[in-house]
Subunit: 230 residues, 6 copies
């Protein structure tokens, strides 16, 4: 059955902004190294950093009809996430859809397929993370669903989960975990700031993290004879 | 038999320029969603938009001898298109060949293989779309042909066909279709400009394209109960 | 056995700088078309050109513990090269490790795996060539070795070999060949400079390289009848 | 948090057997073209056809410790499904683990990673669908979870969902849908049997499915002039 | 425009059988190392060797409607060749379509996409060369064309060209070249038979082909000191 | 410089046979999880298990001239290993070269490229592990070297190292390590035989390996409440 869920819960908007600031690597670590989409999802242009609740769209291969349906479900601050039900690198999305999303205040598009008009998307500064850049057109023949759970970039996503994306890729934070992950990020960032200072001063990670003893106990050997070269 | 066809027909130069302005996505749609090379062909640097008639070169794997032969067949405004007879990512092309092509007024290189000296190509602003960036050198031992039909990026191309390329990729317009495709592009662009204005004003594609009825007749259901999250 | 070789020979630092200037394509050709890592290794940001002796690290899949060990073995001017013992695209390296390497004067990182914090790496202008950009975290559980021969990007590398890297990719010069390769590069560049001038003046490679006779003797045919288009 | 859920609901065993008989293509169609894992999951040997409830294991990259934990959770008739949290083609599974699973009556292994000892697995006739065959060993250092939802082969799977697998690949039937899907399969198979008979008698799909009118209305043209060949 | 060409020329049937006997490697060499589809096209089961004229079908991604149209255009001895207009690994073809083709005397299917029901196809001994095995269903919504030139497996194919396929892959012989290629194959096979006998007797290719002098003149050095091992 | 080393050391032939019996997975583990070529190297037919010293060939892309040179360097019991200097999937090897190698008593071919005539290779029972099956012909124009160190399947190999290959892939044992690895294999196999018996009797790996305490200390939680399904 093809359905559009019009009523999803979203995480607190302020915390979303905060997580955008921490970035993908920190958020991913802070929630126990989970939630990453695969490295095949790359930004169309460098430098964007966003976060927002996901409006999800499950689409047929090479058919972008449901994206038009999903636009209406998007609110200010949302991130649209599009996942085909089987592999496609077709260009589902271009500057017209981006114009419509910008008008509604949508922060970004994440799509496990192709996009086109990337020159225009860059000029508009509408951030997109996609699997491919390809002008291949799509049809509008077959239904899909909006705001259902989807698998995107190899990761499971529910509508209303928080998307965090930057030059490192895309990370999902389950809606209910958002406050706790934000807290963990703050702690992690504080700890890293201190380490960064010490590293800048020339201290070594080996000493800061106290690794030398564990390395020795595992049997690591240092050999100061000239290394063979052949 | 290895042959160099020295006499090819080219489309009207003015229309070529016009098509460069429309861009790959529009041209591809205007000719019935045909003619695209695959998304593996990417620009070496962003921002170039070109169009011109193809001088084609069929080359052996890892052998760039015939590119030197092809240079002589290129005229002002042409696009050189190089297709190996089997897979290769070797670096067939670098700044010396680009220097020679620039001098002859060639607009761009499209190559279903690798290129090198990309820093210099970017500095010269000689646009290249390639499958790979790889310094691997080639030999000059085996003949190929110039201005024969080739398969490049998975698409069939005849010498004299028009190449249109931009950040979205590469599209082929058969020489005889150029005037008619230009006309279709103009129509398409005019229609899109109107749609763009309406989208900027907040109208939805659902309404502009009159999709709601068709969606309902196919059975799309809207559900306003809170979406399950687990 | 897991070992850290603390004593490696390095090539002369002045010649290293000279080779950075020639670039990857020239160096690769000058040493007989050998030494290239594969095209899967790409720079995180464009424009960096470096050379320096390799400190090598053999790491387990998804485990970056040994990189911390290797940092201590790096000196001013070195290039750190990280190779997993089986395929991994995890993010072994981020801005903290880069901070530590910068402090020690390390020129660049080459890694046959993933990196993260690429926005920060770009801001710091710490050059990285990697197989992937991926935030996936790693563990610190299993030993590897430092300054042993490794296979990186499909190429064999010994500690102390010279790494040359630019926008075209990464090339290895065996330590003992460095002086002779530098000489061959100088000769090659001088010859290319002359050819470049002649090409700019409109001469053809066919004539400069004297190819016409060899082409004819191999049987290349020129045909000036209008080429068939279908 | 790493957890082993020891108490999962399983679908009715008789219906599971019935679905194995229908096969992957029929089951996938009967539930609305959903539930397929990607084509990267291939059988280690041809000819096996199985179905059974999934015991799921979420494992770290290159670490098979949790498979040992999962074995204890498997019952007669189950299918073990292993999904790494990031890409790995390491050999997580070999003949010893297969011996243990066979003893417990487990029907098959589905793993989005590598396996080894495939000669022995074939001799034992223990069916495996995997992404790779690779002898690369794994470690036992990091926890994962058993009987949690996983993404395997790009598809979402809950513990207790029914796995159907044959030479065409692997399909997931959500536990609650099993009876209804079985019914739909029976209907589909009956209809196909009739069509198969008519096709054997030389009738055309065009006529059996009544396609000619729709094709004509969409504008399909038949042209009986000799087709151009060039 | 979508068109079905109902009138194509086919090569002489007797010569087709002869070429099947020579096999793909010999035919490819005999026509100057041209005509191969890429190695991504693999047989569904080992051992089939076929040849026959191509009935071509250009299909949209994930839409198999036109295959039903094409069946009607196939005659005894033909080979059906299906090429999507953009990448798809969906399962366009299964046992029902194979039943229909077998009834009409079609020799094989070549498809640059996915197939399913491979257990049944193997049992029926209907040979298929495909890019993928995947149960993913397709729709019947969008027109394509029959008996137009297509690019399949990266190679250009016209309707009526001869397809030769075996365990090594798929080769295309242009219709008009069939007699001349058959003759070249006979010559090549006779020469190879003699070489095979001499090799069986222990003669070396180096001597049979008279390579030693050319190798020496290119500078090959033999060194009988113990080879370094490190 | 291109060189043929005619004098390489080989490991003891009896130990080679013994290692073939242990198989790739055991050998790889016994030498500390090292020496594997990547999973892209697959056997042309299932069931072969071989071991023997490597005669190595470094070849240019798409040029098989040096294989003819290498045949002469092969002795009874050897394994020929062919590695291109840059990526190629061309068909370097077919039934004529196999005839010649069989006559000389060569055990197998390992090639990081393509082969052809696989039907004949299978009929002759000449075992081959390759990256691709592809009929694409090669040329004989450019020199390479025989019995030099090569990188094959991503792994470093010296001439005279022992190759072990079976359905799991290909493993390299450095020549000097052969006796010690054989001993480690014997120990490993004895231990595995005992574990296998205990697993057949229904004991669990968790208990045999004493894992329960370590799992608990790392924090693994068992939860016997009904697992959530949604």
């Amino acid at each position: 059955m093809n359905v559009v869920h019009t009523n999803i819960r979203r995480p607190d908007a302020r915390i979303a902004s905060e997580l955008a600031g921490y970035g993908v690597a920190t958020v991913h670590e802070a929630q126990g190294r989970t939630g990453l989409m695969g490295p095949q999802l790359r930004p169309v242009y460098a430098g964007a950093r966003i976060a927002g609740p996901a409006v999800t769209v499950s689409v047929p291969p090479c058919d972008n009809w449901m994206i038009h349906v999903a636009v209406e479900q998007c609110r200010d601050g949302d991130v649209l996430v599009v996942a085909p039900t089987s592999y496609s690198d077709a260009g589902y999305f271009g500057d017209l859809l981006a114009t419509s999303l910008l008008k509604r205040g949508v922060r970004a598009l994440i799509i496990d397929a192709g996009v086109r008009d990337v020159r225009e998307l860059t000029a508009m500064q509408f951030p997109v993370w996609s699997r491919a850049i390809f002008a291949q057109g799509t049809v509008k023949e077959t239904l899909g669903s909006v705001n259902v759970p989807v698998v995107c970039g190899g990761a499971l996503l529910h509508p209303g989960d928080l998307i965090v994306a930057d030059d490192d890729g895309v990370c999902i934070v389950p809606r209910r975990s958002v406050p706790e992950v934000a807290k963990a990020c703050a702690g992690r960032e504080a700890r890293e700031a201190k380490v960064r200072e010490r590293l800048k001063n020339g201290e070594l990670g080996l000493d800061i993290y106290g690794m030398r003893e564990k390395l020795a106990s595992r049997g690591l050997v240092y050999d100061d004879r000239p290394a063979s070269e052949d």
